[in-house]
């Protein structure tokens, strides 16, 4: 079972945060196919969040084929989300390590690196 957290200052809608956390948990192996997600009521009792938000996130995951709702027993993980396999992720992460080392050498601190990544993503989105 996983526990969700909520960052209310990120600008990312809460339902998307839940979707992302489930996907991340699957990618790093905290969640496996067959595992049960906490019920809507368990989630809201824990994080004090709107139940419609949780239900919406679960619906989204179901539409994406990642989880399935079984009537009367809960929501279960069906499969890993489409996307990079753990191996590919590992490779991407290694690529990043090189970049981070270079950035650190250039005197960038963590915050500046994050800001630069964010700005570059924004720029690329603008160009598309």
């Amino acid at each position: 079972m996983i526990a969700f957290r909520l960052n209310t200052h990120s600008g990312v809608p809460p339902y998307l945060q839940i979707v992302q956390q489930v996907k991340q948990a699957l990618q790093v192996g905290i969640l496996q196919p067959g595992d049960q997600l906490p019920t809507v009521k368990e989630v809201v009792a824990h994080v004090a969040i709107n139940p419609n938000t949780v239900a919406k996130a679960y619906r989204g995951l179901e539409t994406a084929g990642i989880v399935e709702g079984r009537v009367g027993s809960g929501t279960f993980v069906k499969q890993r989300p489409a996307g990079p396999s753990p191996e590919l992720q590992e490779a991407l992460s290694e690529d990043l390590e090189g970049w981070i080392a270079k950035a650190r050498e250039a005197g960038l601190d963590e915050e500046s690196m994050e800001a630069l990544v964010r700005a570059t993503i924004n720029k690329m989105q603008g160009e598309r």
């Binding site: 200052h9 004090a48 139940p51 419609n52 924004n122 603008g126």
Partner: protein, 293 residues
């Protein structure tokens, strides 16, 4: 989706002062709506109109498909928790349950006893001896025990410490998760809102500034940062809600309708709901200043 509350041009006048004016809101069934606005914006006035505690001076409202009225058949479906958490301090929680049972046709005694026991609230203690957080939980449980279809809360968490606030909102969210309940809650604590609400109503200067689904609101607004410039050049489809300028830079919170392109010179950011709400609250202020001139 069905609508729990619908108002049209709703207004309330005290003497020559309009506490609420041209208020148009629509609240979907099953939603949790945050009612926000500066002090004196008309939030309590609106809540009082919706439960028939006061009569409208203008316009109309439909609450659960009826015109609000202080009559049993209407009120049976409505829960209301006023700002001061109205409990009898010298009565025990048990006394309050007995009272709730006698005063309401429908009252789920089993639910409230279990709920309060789960929260470790002693039923035999005088309510005046409980902590502020416990009192708020008792009041909420009493309101929920009558199994309302609509629950209106006026600043329920304002006086609570952060832990008690979290527990209160968690109780509320669990009640909504059980289904069949629509909630409208006024609050100044914007940080809590994005968590527990999925709908937002912003009042300022007695007028509705915004009433919409929070997710849609987030999608429709952008924060633009760019070189100091005239906002008139932004083009059609962009409505500037709030703008600040320094000597070199302009920051705009805009509402984007449809697929309007943001000019390339501007850096585009996603504002959070707090920034958007503050911008709309500020709009009311500008209106006020305008009319005072």
């Amino acid at each position: 989706m069905e609508v729990a509350i619908q108002t049209k041009d709703l207004g309330k006048r005290y003497g020559s002062f309009w506490a609420l004016e041209n208020c148009d809101i629509s609240v979907p069934e099953g939603s949790v709506s945050a009612l926000v606005g500066p002090n004196g914006a008309g939030k309590s006035t609106l809540l009082n109109l919706l439960i028939g505690l006061s009569n409208a001076s203008a316009g109309e409202s439909q609450v659960l498909g009826r015109v609000p009225h202080q009559r049993e058949d209407f009120l049976a479906d409505i829960g209301y928790l006023a700002q001061e958490i109205p409990l009898y301090k010298s009565f025990s929680t048990h006394d309050h349950i007995t009272m709730g049972k006698s005063l309401n046709k429908r009252f789920d005694e089993e639910f409230i006893r279990k709920r309060l026991t789960d929260l470790s609230i002693p039923l035999d203690k005088r309510v005046g001896k409980l902590s502020g957080g416990q009192r708020a939980q008792v009041a909420l449980a009493l309101a929920l025990a009558k199994k309302p279809k609509l629950l209106l809360l006026d600043e329920p968490v304002a006086a609570l410490d952060p832990l008690a606030r979290h527990d209160f909102l968690s109780s509320l969210a669990q009640a909504v998760a059980d289904g069949g309940l629509t909630v409208v809650m006024s609050s100044h604590l914007l940080a809590d809102l994005e968590r527990v609400s999925d709908h937002v109503i912003v009042l300022a200067s007695g007028k509705t500034q915004l009433c919409d689904d929070i997710e849609r609101v987030l999608k429709q607004h952008k924060l633009l940062v760019g070189p100091r410039s005239n906002t008139k050049e932004l083009g059609d489809g962009l409505r500037v809600i709030h703008e600040t300028h320094t000597a070199k830079q302009s920051t705009l919170l805009v509402r984007v309708d449809g697929k309007t392109k943001v000019p390339a010179a501007w850096q585009k950011h996603e504002p959070n709901i707090e920034e958007i709400i503050l911008a709309y609250m500020g709009q009311g202020k500008d209106l006020n200043e305008g009319s005072a001139k």
